[in-house]
Symmetry: C2
Subunit: 503 residues, 2 copies
């Protein structure tokens, strides 16, 4: 392998002269080769250990210190992928992946992403890619309709939606919009008075986004929840805290409510929280990153009741709507507030369309300038599968999670900690109620380690209300009933072995 | 096409029952079909008008109001792509695209992105995807070596790099790190004293990022530049302004210097600005989004001289290193400062690897939590082409831009406004030096409109130092000499027609 300082040989010169980074026929051959690699990977995905067993630093020993000076063939590179990259992967698409939340995928989304990359358009404003802007507006209305969002969130009504990368970006953008509107009234010098609210179950990125936006760390309230209330944010408790803040001369700014928290899929009561938020002129954002997708099914839509009281709402199709990473859909009730906070108008992007105000320029709905044609993925998903199949997909995952919950409940040595809402089961091994809590926790930690170190199943844990519990998240795209049954058997076997060792 | 409220027919039920979003063999067939579509698109790309000629709202008339209830075939969808999406595209990959900066592409990067999507791993911490974290660390060191960055920016030294989506994210992250370190010394209540600096040529997203981070708008300094100084930021002028701020009790925080500004590819003097920044304890970020890629060639490396004085540095391979969107490489000298500002530690992500501090958890280097395996793209680019071909690619674009510059200079009716540094030529039509400036500007606006409305060439404009100029950015991956020659002929013809109409 050449080094950076290689002198040009005659052969190099000739390679260099002919360099063409995208010859359509070479592209065709190589991309076909890659399609077969990927289809085979998906076909054989069960054969890989789901959790990588490598040690930190493993890869540096296998790769050279520098980029090669001369080209290498695709075959050589793909051999390295098989030999050095795949063993270091935690296989998120494995049917035995039950950790975190699944990152769901589909043929349609893969094709949509190929098409997005094919065009490689940069849609910062309408003119730079009219189709990108317009398809995104239409698709955001389609999804809003599937969720039965009120018209105030739709372009066909008085609001509108945008595709962000992640929920963090969605929250940061809406927070900045809320902050700037409030500071316009109270003066920028009063930024230290702004208070933001969430529960102790709100995603960790919320506090990070608040700090990023200059909210003083002492003004970020993470309100306690408890197992008795299924870790849901209590409007009564929140009211008490807001009133204390107001009495102290602080200014309530923003509330993030969650439909399906990361730890336990707890659901905050949107309707009541919305009333409270409206009363105190607090911007309410509803983060339904995971749970929102389920609300395309009528039986789950109740969790969004009262959404008309929110100022903004987001869900991430990369979690549960088969879209691949990364794709977060965000809707706002008053796009003008968002645009006022985030717009830029450099001369080199000026054009008649934008100046007439007749078009949406999505650069003014996000932090960055550049943006990809992500709506193609959602368009292909919705059309290739139809609402019927997407509902069926959600229901199938929920049915499997119910089945797993049933297995746990049927075993006296195990217990389900919180009611299952969607497709996550939070449970623990609790063979003897007389054990000290610390000992039960230790047992569960050992159980988790032992299960995961087999490479046959990967699940994770959480702690909520002081209780250490195991999280079993159903929904990886390739998962079938038989994987759950095997996983449960493995968990049971590991638990039995632990008990034998303890006695 | 079905509607959202369709009742399930028997046929639907059977579709739904069989729903499998990723059957490997169906995936194989459809992805092969898509590869051929894309290869054909690339082959025929010259046949499309480069700037879309559609009117705002065109797409809503062609698509239904709602997502379909039942699935549609890929053939049906692809027909709509050809009929309704492609006519609304501004074809960024067209060889006749000379607008903004090109978004460069390559077979290797496309394959890398396919592979990234294939795995769909979410690498928020090391354990969630060891290969993703480790390859990114290695690739960032490789690129740092290609740029001859000092060891203080490399993992093999004392720093390190990370892949962000866009420069906006890179700037926001470093700004927050700088802000939090400063506030730790002066107290968070003094956020209103923090001052940030750039030039009037700094990218518009800089001021947006500063506002996002809570910097008071009155404390964002955009220092004037002038054509005589090639729109470069003057260290002497900056010093004067910093000294006034310090004397007024304000606290200088952050300076964004640019290597290759968006308007005219101006270059700020890194070394002198770095000295000044170090003297006043200002965090210096060098934004080389566009120009940085050229610095892999020894003849351009001088523009990074003094980079060891910067705290952070970023460049975007999606601009000029063939990587497709979106990919911004950012290096920091003190990762611990970044991590301190951006780390989160929720229970559900805790693991032994992270707690032992033996690994990099990239979630603590960025705003969001989730992240894709973007380093695969850069790895495939570097290996498939080698440093030799990547240098050749830069030089080929620069050679073409020089050729275009020569054509402009050889015509007495045109003038080059600022010296060409990389592959952008800033020029204007100036047939008569006696014309009023406003009239010359009007002529150039008409010329631009007339050229772009042909659909045969797309270029854009800017205004700097009060001068309206045309920007001709060479570097779209498919562009060859003949496209430049045709473009110049079209520009000349349109200019001649304008003159005839004026007389």
């Amino acid at each position: 392998m050449g080094s950076l300082d290689s002198n040009n040989s005659t052969q190099t010169q000739s390679n260099v002269t002919k360099f063409n980074p995208l010859d359509p026929e070479e592209f065709r051959t190589q991309a076909h080769q890659m399609v077969d690699f990927i289809a085979d990977y998906y076909k054989n995905i069960e054969s890989y250990p789901v959790l990588s067993q490598v040690e930190p630093g493993y890869l540096r020993n296998h790769l050279p210190e520098n980029a090669p000076y001369l080209p290498e063939s695709l075959d050589t590179i793909m051999k390295d992928v098989e030999k050095h990259i795949i063993p270091g992967m935690t296989h998120w698409l494995s049917p035995n992946f039950f950790a975190f939340f699944p990152a769901t995928v589909s043929s349609a989304a893969f094709l949509g992403e190929m098409l997005c990359n094919c065009f490689n358009s940069v849609g910062f404003n309408w003119l730079a890619s009219p189709a990108m802007t317009e398809l995104e507006m239409i698709i955001m209305d389609w999804l809003a309709n599937m969720l039965k969002l009120p018209e105030c969130f739709m372009f066909s009504g008085t609001g509108g939606g945008v595709i962000q990368g992640t929920t963090s970006e969605a929250i940061l953008c809406t927070l900045i919009a809320a902050r700037d509107r409030k500071l316009e009234n109270i003066g920028v010098d009063n930024i230290g008075k702004l208070v933001v609210y969430g529960s102790d179950q709100t995603h960790s990125m919320y506090a990070k986004a608040c700090k990023a936006a200059g909210i003083f760390p002492c003004n970020i309230r993470a309100i306690s929840t408890c197992v008795e209330n299924d870790f849901s944010l209590s409007p009564a408790v929140l009211r008490g805290i807001v009133e204390v803040d107001v009495a102290a001369g602080l200014v309530p700014l923003f509330l993030c409510a969650t439909v399906g928290t990361t730890s336990t899929t707890a659901i905050d009561p949107i309707s009541e929280l919305g009333e409270l938020a409206n009363e105190f002129d607090i911007w309410l954002h509803v983060d339904a990153a995971y749970g929102g997708s389920a609300c395309i099914c009528p039986e789950f839509r109740q969790y969004l009741d009262g959404i008309e009281r929110a100022n903004s709402f987001s869900l991430s199709p990369h979690k549960w709507l088969l879209s691949y990473l990364d794709c977060c859909c965000m809707w706002v009730k008053e796009p003008s507030v968002l645009v006022k906070a985030l717009s830029t108008n450099p001369e080199y992007l000026r054009n008649k369309r934008s100046e007439h105000g007749s078009v949406v320029d999505y650069k003014d709905w996000q932090i960055g300038t550049g943006r990809k044609f992500k709506s193609l993925r959602l368009w292909l998903i919705m059309r290739s599968y139809g609402v019927a199949n997407l509902q069926s997909h959600i229901r199938s995952d929920v049915r499997m999670a119910k089945m797993f919950e049933g297995l746990v409940r049927s075993d006296p040595y195990f217990e389900v900690i919180v009611p299952r809402r969607f497709s996550l089961v939070c449970f623990r091994f609790n063979p003897d109620k007389e054990y000290e809590p610390a000992y039960t926790e230790l047992l569960n930690k050992r159980l988790l380690d032992n299960v995961n170190s087999t490479g046959r199943v990967y699940m994770t844990h959480t702690v909520a209300g002081g209780i250490y519990m195991l999280r079993f998240a159903v929904g990886a795209t390739f998962t079938e009933d038989r994987h759950l049954i095997c996983a449960w058997k493995l968990i049971k076997d590991c638990a039995d072995a632990l008990l034998r060792n303890c006695q």
